[in-house]
Symmetry: D3
């Protein structure tokens, strides 16, 4: 008898988003169920973004495949990725991403205060100069993309980032401009757990 048999099925919270229905876990395709089990085991709960995106399995697959490419094949540290995500979500005012990725940046950067700083104004964050430059460009690409020019890429190079890292900074920024808008349109709500994770 396998351990799997003992585990209760993950439960998708009906309140994971306000504006579309969340399906039942049991009705999901096998590959979504596997991913959700995996995430649930890792986090100790099912992050609501998995419940919400289950609404449309083809989009679930595409969204998380892109996400996985961004965090697995990257010239950036994971804490750098999460710093970008929270700074971008802060200026876009996305409740879900502020809180869920706020937890991640606290954990990956091992800093209980950093998320609240980045949500408010990344210029107040206790970060090094290279990360400040990284967030200057990420926020500019978010708010005023027409004004991004060669000089911005040069500033990143001078801060020590490789060419691939430049691409990755832009890609993470771009992806969370997608993610913020999808979460805001659907009315996604962060799990209660995210509000306190990593604050101790």
């Amino acid at each position: 008898m396998s351990e799997m048999d003992d585990d209760p099925e993950p439960e998708l919270r009906a309140d994971a988003m306000e504006r579309f229905p969340v399906p039942d876990y049991g009705d999901l395709p096998e590959d979504l169920r596997e991913r959700i089990v995996e995430e649930t085991e890792r986090a100790g709960f099912t992050p609501n973004v998995f419940s919400a995106l289950s609404y449309k399995p083809s989009h679930f697959r595409a969204f998380f495949a892109y996400h996985d490419a961004l965090v697995e094949d990257t010239a950036l540290e994971r804490e750098e990725i999460e710093m970008i995500v929270v700074a971008v979500s802060g200026v876009n005012h996305c409740y879900y991403c502020n809180v869920a990725h706020g937890a991640l940046v606290r954990i990956y950067a091992d800093d209980p205060l950093l998320a609240d700083q980045l949500v408010a104004n990344y210029r107040t964050a206790d970060i090094n100069d290279a990360h400040r430059t990284m967030l200057d460009v990420a926020v500019k690409l978010t708010e005023r993309p027409t004004e991004v020019e060669e000089a911005d890429l040069e500033a990143l190079r001078e801060a020590g980032f490789s060419e691939e890292a430049l691409w990755d900074i832009a890609s993470v920024t771009a992806f969370y401009n997608l993610s913020n808008r999808l979460a805001m349109f659907a009315g996604m709500r962060p799990n209660d757990e995210f509000h306190t994770l990593g604050r101790e």
Copy 2:
């Protein structure tokens, strides 16, 4: 002797983007080469977005997988998708997407003037009321996502869109907020062909 032997290999244009190097077609992984051959045969030329994203194959795969999900598993007509893309790219001021998707909207909507209307100001476009509502929401989600609320979804429902169509409108909008920023950061340039396609 196979047919493949007769066909010249597609050539990735070095000027497809200004700020990152475009790799040689021959150096690409097999799956990228197959996709590029397919696109080249369809269009008659290799659209520069394929050349540009070849810079990082894992992102090429993720980007086009998401794109494909949006156009293949959808409650929207393809012309509706392209209308959203051009209206969003117009307010984001993305040269690549204005021109490349401008060609697509001319073709799919069979209207030689529509792209220039949507790029300038979607409110001037010769479109029906349902499409006007669709673009009102897409542009609001692009420019002022904090202000999107239940009333915006309700307006879409009243215009005749299904629940899945609402999700799809938001997803296309969100994805091109990613795409615009990536293209603008990388300095992607549309192929000359796109400027005139569908104008006759």
Copy 3:
């Protein structure tokens, strides 16, 4: 021997603000010391705004006298005042006020999630309709004060607020437009304690 003699003196943290020096507690005028003792006993620590404003005692007195008038002679509930403060600070992107008043709104509203909602986008907050109207007006008066007109006051009246409550909503909003700017200019930093207070 009085109890006072036993108590250690409050200590003003040198890192309470980044851009001006924080004086020593022992050098402060008697009335500031009394207020600081009182606040320290109430909170269990000395909130950094008291340390920061000690830089200029005449402004310390004026700032807290206005604050006290707003919370003591008011037609609003204290939780309503703190909701306005956090919504206003969220759109102004004030790190100090987001965090310090975020703690207060969690405590006064007895809601561990409300502050993160209000910081991100007050439209996502789990609040009643009257409070939604209250925050609509407070944020409009913050961001687009030229557009506030009689209709906004009428909306507040229809939501059940008295004439004095209208004045108080505007006054709290206006005062935190002062407070946010002073905190941001001085580089005030919230005490670590505020990040977690009221989250349990």
Copy 4:
């Protein structure tokens, strides 16, 4: 028989603000009456801000106590304070403050044209370089407070302002961001006299 007996009582104008009732002078607490007599004797008329704030005596006291601290305990010249007030009110578009403090800046700077320049665009004002830097920072703190950083304070120091003057510039700016919003919400109207004072 005292001189007081001869003086007519000041009269609070009912049209001092549009959206809240102005009380009768005779019904005000003694300390407000004394302040109003004093201001009326100084100006030759009762400035409408005193009539308007009489609506709520606890706020009258707090507002003017803060105001008095800003003009009495300061490293700035009074004309510098009024220059900041008018430049800030100009970008916030506050009719009351433009006109009432426009009169004050004409008088304190002994310049009949300065107020109209500051209301329109402080960059057109005939002022020295130090005052230009002072207004650059005041307007930035008003319009884009997230972007105020150490470099702005350094620019003020290089222009010759002391540390205390930096604090005072920020405090005056912050206070009139309060004052503008309260005046605009209440619909305060400047006395006719202010429109012409100091123009000769």
Copy 5:
């Protein structure tokens, strides 16, 4: 001996604009001299806009010919034209136009306070409902022209304006969007006289 011989020649003020040289009156073409004599006799001084535009006679002729068409062949009252000019110049922050046309609106509307109201925020002006609608549209066309739609024209019609008046409202608004930018670029300065005209 003609009367002309007795009159002193008008003098063009060298300080009429900051960024281009003002020519000598005597060097101007005959038609410009005649217009300047005429304006100087009417006003009692030579308005600086005539001195400034003398820099390039072909533009002088074009500018004033358009201006004359707007005020001479119109469905609007002259006071309505000047109300639009000052409201538009207020939101564009043009010092020259605020002050010079501020004088004109005081004179044509016979209201010493109206200009200061319109410069600050046209919503505070003591004007009738039709004029409020007129200025709503003029300011919208100035600040957010993409959003002007049929409903705005309909609002003007409902306020009693004729079709030609609609065209004229738009034309005056458009022309002062030209005029404001030219005056701001050239650094035009209003004559001292304009600051006080019509204030008595």
Copy 6:
């Protein structure tokens, strides 16, 4: 028998603008008819701006007289003028001017791609450094005229522009801020021909 007799009369398109009626050619004053004949012969069709402005002959005359002064008495090359027009119209989002002047910039600059670049984001255009500086100033004067200062004029001088060219750059920019708003208010529609002219 004169050649004139053979020529068909130009026809003013009723759909040249959406919000005002277009008069019949035969009802126009002689001078408008002559100008329209001339333009029709030059272009091979009657550009809709002539049909639209025929609504009010006095404005037709003033508008085209100003236009003619700008293109005939100028220190700029015609292609420079059209580059400014399209960059300005792009940020103002004017459909008519984007398309009609897009055709002109393609023709005068002999570049089939330039218009689409300028409409999207002038920073992406293939232009020399002097023209980049020229458009930086034109767009700044369009979007943020309060911030144009001596340094902007100095940048133009350093790029090689004469004093008169500076005036002309500002004048063209200013005029198309007029033209864009008039076209957008009236709902002017570009002739179909403009969409393709100069693209070969």
